[in-house]
Amino acid sequence: MSLTTDPVSGPYQYLKAQSRWRVLEVAFWLCTLLPYFLFPNYLVLASQIAITALFALSLDLILGYAGIVSLGHAAFFGLGAYAAGILSKHGWGEPITGLIVGGVIAALVGYASSFIISRFRHLTLIMITLGLGLLLHEAANSAHFLTGGADGLQGVKIWKIFGLYGFDLWGYTAYTYSLIVLFLGFLLARRITNSPFGLALRGIRENAVRMPAIGAPSHAHIRKIYTISAAMAGVAGALLAQTTETVALEVLSFQRSADTLVMLVLGGAGMLYGGIVGSAIFMIARDQFSGINPQYWYFWIGLLLIVVVMVLPNGVLGGLKKLFTTWRGPS
């Protein structure tokens, strides 16, 4: 086409090449089906990994791509969880609409707070997101009539998906449901990051002041991606509320924000798959270590983190990528 002679063809072709599906990616998603055959007793854990992965993916969108460091992202996760939980408590337990409501409410709050977020960077941002998270946590604690306070929300009953698939003890439905939502969320994130908008975000991450000078409004872009990320986190929270049929204050906790950040760093930020791989490693390790020694398993997690950060500064995926390129030789 005539586009090839266009001066913009460079970046367009770059994006097009980026968005092509690679063999490894297809293999990765096929691997997510393995638990059905290899570990049918671990499906409940697998479903919670998928949910955490979706949450980590939403954090990756703002942290890995736009460079917004957040220690309060659980606020949106919790909002989604409470929205879906409260909706079902008051008689509407349909899962799909519950997810949408959870996402929309988180997005609204995300949009409102994005006006503050887009004005700050770095340390200030950490403090602000941390503060917002704590505020929401305390608000949910005080709103006992709505959230059940410290006891958690009681009476969450989720209907069967499409009226056909109920949530079973083995976690077949929970895993299938979570995996499908994770995949859809991933497709969305992939599309966003491989678009000119995604490229602009990376520019903002590298130099937020310079981007407006070349025609990309930093503040507006940050507001957009922050809202999208909040919605995705809300959907993840709603998923957790629905598959476990419980919501407790813990969904809003600082611990959850921090753990997810750790998973992202572990897997590799800014690579889409980083959050998914990181949350799988973190949660499987936690499950195994705490099974071996319920008291002191945090020691092994700590050791694992130190080793990963020291040996693989760009996370597990970053390390693999490096290994892969050295093996193939410099291109």
Binding site: Q48, T244, E245, T246, A248, Q288, S290, Q295
Partner: protein, 392 residues
């Protein structure tokens, strides 16, 4: 990562070796507790009592060996507790679930017990409604209203107090305790002249205590979570010149547990609390229990321990009754109405609500042989959970 594979491998190997070992299948008990994090000490105390029980009574019951699988929730995490309960049942094939220090976790696992029809023993979590979650569940600890409503009624009648000012931590358990105390107190003719809710994460009580002092109440009721807060509150009371001997200070047992009394010192003298267990409870059985507990673990048992101890008792006795049959219905039927003498005194499982029926002891902090301890001087006998009693 390598470590993980190694451990996975050894696990698999262990499973292979263990499989053909016994013809008679062992009874597997899944323990779900916060073994790590800020509630780890509670889990340790409870687990100690469980281990002590097995050590004393043997690890075989009704001809079958008893095995434990311990799982850590890391704190308040109902989603984790629910997943662990599911996994214990579908993956590890446990016969029953036990433990549960924290209310949200017990509520979430209750759903699984109901769905899978598995016997479940709650050994601590104290919110009233927990036992309504599953018809296969019993509780061997206490309920918050059981203790606090009893204290309220006692204060307004035998205690001879007519007016009270209440100070509680502003979160679920504190609010429950406040509601139960005020209810018991008002129904017995007392008057609440004021109340304040204090932030949970605020160990500086001077402003709140000053406000109470300005009203010059006849008595003060306090509820704060155990740990660092009771001593801080005790110090604030002393600093502002509220003397428990003149203004009656009342609360639930955690306020004056061993650790709190140690750091409060003489400030605590005269505080009146209601509780179901104290290591100083005067009975031969309790003295034995405390002695062997101290020998094994070098510290006193507390209310977490007694919940675990009696929980094990229910499990063992129910299994004896069913001759080792472990389906949820048979076990819960065997546990209903069970009556026994515990180190804390006579207790039973209410056949209707499957909740614990026990004496609530009224204690005063006194100095005995130079040691500051809780001395029981009155009791309310055979208290059922008042909330569920009203539900019917």
């Amino acid at each position: 990562m390598r470590k993980l594979f190694v451990s996975l491998g050894s696990l698999a190997a262990a499973a292979l070796v263990a499989a053909p070992a016994s013809a008679q299948q062992p009874i597997k008990i899944g323990l779900i507790m916060p073994y790590s994090g800020q509630f780890a000490d509670a889990a340790t105390q409870m687990d100690n009592a469980i281990k002590l029980y097995v050590k004393q009574k043997g690890d075989t019951v009704a001809g079958r060996k008893v095995e434990f699988i311990r799982k850590d929730t890391g704190g308040i995490a109902p989603d984790v507790a629910k997943r662990l309960a599911q996994e214990l049942i579908v993956r590890d094939n446990v016969d029953l679930l036990a433990g549960f220090v924290l209310t949200p976790n017990a509520l979430a696992a209750g759903d699984v017990s109901e769905q899978a029809k598995k016997f479940m023993v709650v050994m601590n979590a104290a919110t009233s409604i927990i036992t309504t979650k599953s018809q296969y569940m019993v509780r061997t600890s206490l309920t918050t209203p059981q203790v606090n409503e009893s204290l309220g009624t006692w204060a307004a009648t035998k205690g001879g107090v007519k007016k009270v000012y209440t100070m509680v931590s502003d979160f679920g358990p504190g609010l429950d305790a406040e509601g139960a105390f005020q209810r018991g107190f008002k129904e017995a003719g007392g008057e609440v002249i004021g109340q304040v809710k204090m932030p949970v994460a605020n160990p500086d009580f001077s402003a709140f205590v000053q406000r109470a002092k300005d009203l010059n109440p006849e008595s003060i009721y306090i509820w704060v979570p155990g740990g660092a807060q009771p001593p801080a509150l005790g110090k604030a009371l002393a600093e502002r010149g509220i003397d428990p001997k003149k203004t009656r200070v009342m609360g639930q047992g955690e306020v004056t547990d061993d650790a709190a009394l140690k750091s409060m010192g003489d400030v605590a003298l005269g505080i009146i609390t209601a509780f179901h267990y104290d290591p100083n409870h005067n009975s031969a059985m309790n003295k034995d229990f405390v002695k062997s507990y101290n020998e094994a673990y070098g510290r006193n048992p507390d209310f977490f321990s007694i919940g675990g101890w009696d929980g094990m008792h229910v499990i063992y006795e129910a299994l004896k009754k069913t001759s080792g049959k472990t389906d949820g219905q048979t076990l819960v039927d065997a546990a209903k109405g069970m009556k026994w003498e515990s180190p804390r005194g006579p207790i039973s499982i209410d056949p209707q609500t499957r909740d614990i029926v026990q004496n609530v002891y009224i204690r005063r902090v006194e100095k005995v042989d130079g040691k500051i301890v809780n001395v029981e001087f009155d009791k309310v006998e055979n208290v059922k959970d008042p909330v569920k009693a009203r539900m019917k």
